[in-house]
Symmetry: C2
């Protein structure tokens, strides 16, 4: 895992060619979805010497295609186009592509080499590093998969002109989470940065520092037995907000839910662990400005608590588990909160966000 | 990998209960096929305290069921019966069950604990130890899978009264292979043993020594980059014999093909590396007596060579790769032989086997 190469560059084709020169695979496969195949991959391939002879495999875009059917079609394409144990697979796309492509590569002939080329901010900061691969199955997200790191991840911000603003903001919420887990300076730098005006180069520099936070945590705890749970900061309320919005027929982007969830978790951190109220207010202001409010009322609390109670990270349905902070960079794992405490936190959340 | 528990006992229910007491899983699943479910598993379950509350998942018997469809049905059964990341899976059956069950467990929720309870000699000596899991896919054997060791393997010979003699002999050929790779004493002890008259207890003692040979090799080279290829002794000609017999419409058991393949590889070892002719004759006599002859003539050589040329262990189709021996216990990996040398070896094989 420590051997994984993380390459930050806005010349991705050159980085890919250099990596291929090093390992000299007899066959190269590139996995894309219908969006990246049209909008992004041609821009990389035209500048690469090696990708001209690669075999492209394309699946439909969107989470609905992170399925067993797509997985079987990737395995078949690998086998039918001469894939061997020495083949290289390149996953070029968002989180769906790096998740399903990583799983396909980890299992084809009991595992071939693969690299990730995340083309969205969210996949660069979240999905492409960390070794979680898999598919949705039986109505459940990421039900089937393995832990297996990509041999290299090539991260570039030069594709982000193809992304809508909501996508960029969504990824930025995960960056903010890494900043909070890491240290005060990283976290404050992120609050200063204007994602709406971001240019490729300064964003790449910021992203590099940020992804390294996750990489260090994953190296220490690859199988999520301890420290890695710090990466769940904000995610217990975030999943509840997502499910609640979905049930109302008005789904919200994952990163937006994470941004709101971070505020809730920092309120709980303040209540239980004395997280500084000045920092809490800075984050709440940033989140309100960049992500707007979520329209919950106190009538929604029972439903939100019900969603939190069934989060798979809980040890039992009577205790709701959170990863909290004493201060920026000071993580406390496995903190539990009662329904009453969470209701108070949601009241404060609505105050802070002017809902 | 070195942490895998290998338990040799003819009280398997007690060993399973002890293991379950140790790890205390919240849910237990048992995978069987239609044969072991009827003939073997009830004998284990009735003596076990914990298995009374286990959820049994049964798939069809035979290699044809080592399929994606069976795998999906196992994943669904795990999910629909309350499987969590902390569940335990017990694979009770032959090689098909340990292969597909190991793969299902290695991928359900990105990996749960599993133990193997091999119920045939072949699966005890070959499939249950070594971490190769997987399914057949797209017409190819073991096309999809991962390397993942079972947390424990519980090996017993007390089920073998349910097996036909051909099954026992088939497994014994793999034991003979381990003996040849290991050392002279182990190999000669195996030649003295009468598998037709074997009782459960002496066979268990012999099996324990034998499985440890494989375990040591796999520990040194889990991903088959080097030493583990020694386990391919006999297998290049064996796969050719199997394919040839299959094409004639008269399939032969895998272990019988391995027995004949061992003789061919020892002839090549004698020709190229001076393997002692006395040892070669002892093995040939043993194989002829226990496995009989295979009805090839010199007209079949081109077809047999063609099969060997397409073995997936070859680096190119012009060179056929073998793992050979200088003497019992002295392995030489990656030896190549020309079609002429192999034809000479097949002539000698037919002489020795009185074909």
């Amino acid at each position: 895992m420590a051997n994984q190469k993380l390459i930050f560059t806005n010349s991705p084709a050159e980085a890919i060619d250099r990596y291929i020169n090093e390992i000299n695979p007899p066959q190269i496969f590139v996995l894309t979805d219908s969006n990246t195949s049209r909008l992004v991959y041609p821009r990389i391939a035209e500048k690469s010497r090696h990708l001209k002879k690669a075999c492209e495999i394309t699946i439909g875009a969107g989470d609905v295609n992170k399925s067993l059917e797509s997985l079987a079609s990737i395995w078949s394409a690998l086998g039918n186009n001469g894939g061997t144990r020495r083949s290289l697979m390149i996953n070029a796309g968002g989180g769906v592509i790096t998740d399903i492509g990583g799983f396909a590569a980890a299992t084809f002939k009991r595992g071939i080499r693969f690299i990730n080329v995340p083309t969205t901010l969210l996949s660069a900061v979240d999905a492409a590093v960390g070794g979680k691969t898999g598919i949705n199955f039986n109505g459940l997200k990421n039900e089937i998969g393995v832990f297996r790191e990509a041999d290299a991840v090539i991260i570039s911000t030069c594709y982000y002109d193809t992304l809508p603003q909501t996508e960029l903001r969504s990824g930025y919420a995960e960056m903010l989470k890494h900043g909070l887990i890491s240290d005060r300076a990283t976290f404050e730098e992120l609050l200063q940065f204007d994602i709406a005006e971001a240019n490729a180069e300064p964003l790449l520099a910021l992203l590099e520092k940020n992804v390294m936070v996750k990489k260090r945590i994953v190296e220490e705890d690859p199988l999520e037995h301890g420290l890695r749970r710090a990466l769940n900061l904000g995610h217990t309320p975030a999943h509840a907000f997502e499910s609640w919005a979905m049930a109302k027929g008005k789904p919200v982007p994952h990163g937006y839910a994470v941004a709101w969830g971070l505020v809730v978790d920092l309120i709980l951190s303040h209540m239980s662990l004395g997280f500084p109220s000045g920092d809490l207010h800075k984050v709440a202001t940033f989140v309100e400005r960049n992500y707007g409010p979520i329209g919950i009322t106190c009538n929604d609390y029972p439903q939100l608590l019900e969603y939190m109670r069934h989060d798979k990270k809980n040890a039992s349905v009577n205790e709701i588990t959170f990863s909290l902070l004493e201060a920026p960079g000071k993580v406390k794992l496995g903190h539990t909160a009662t329904p009453d405490e969470i209701s108070v936190a949601l009241d404060i959340f609505r105050d802070l966000m002017h809902i």
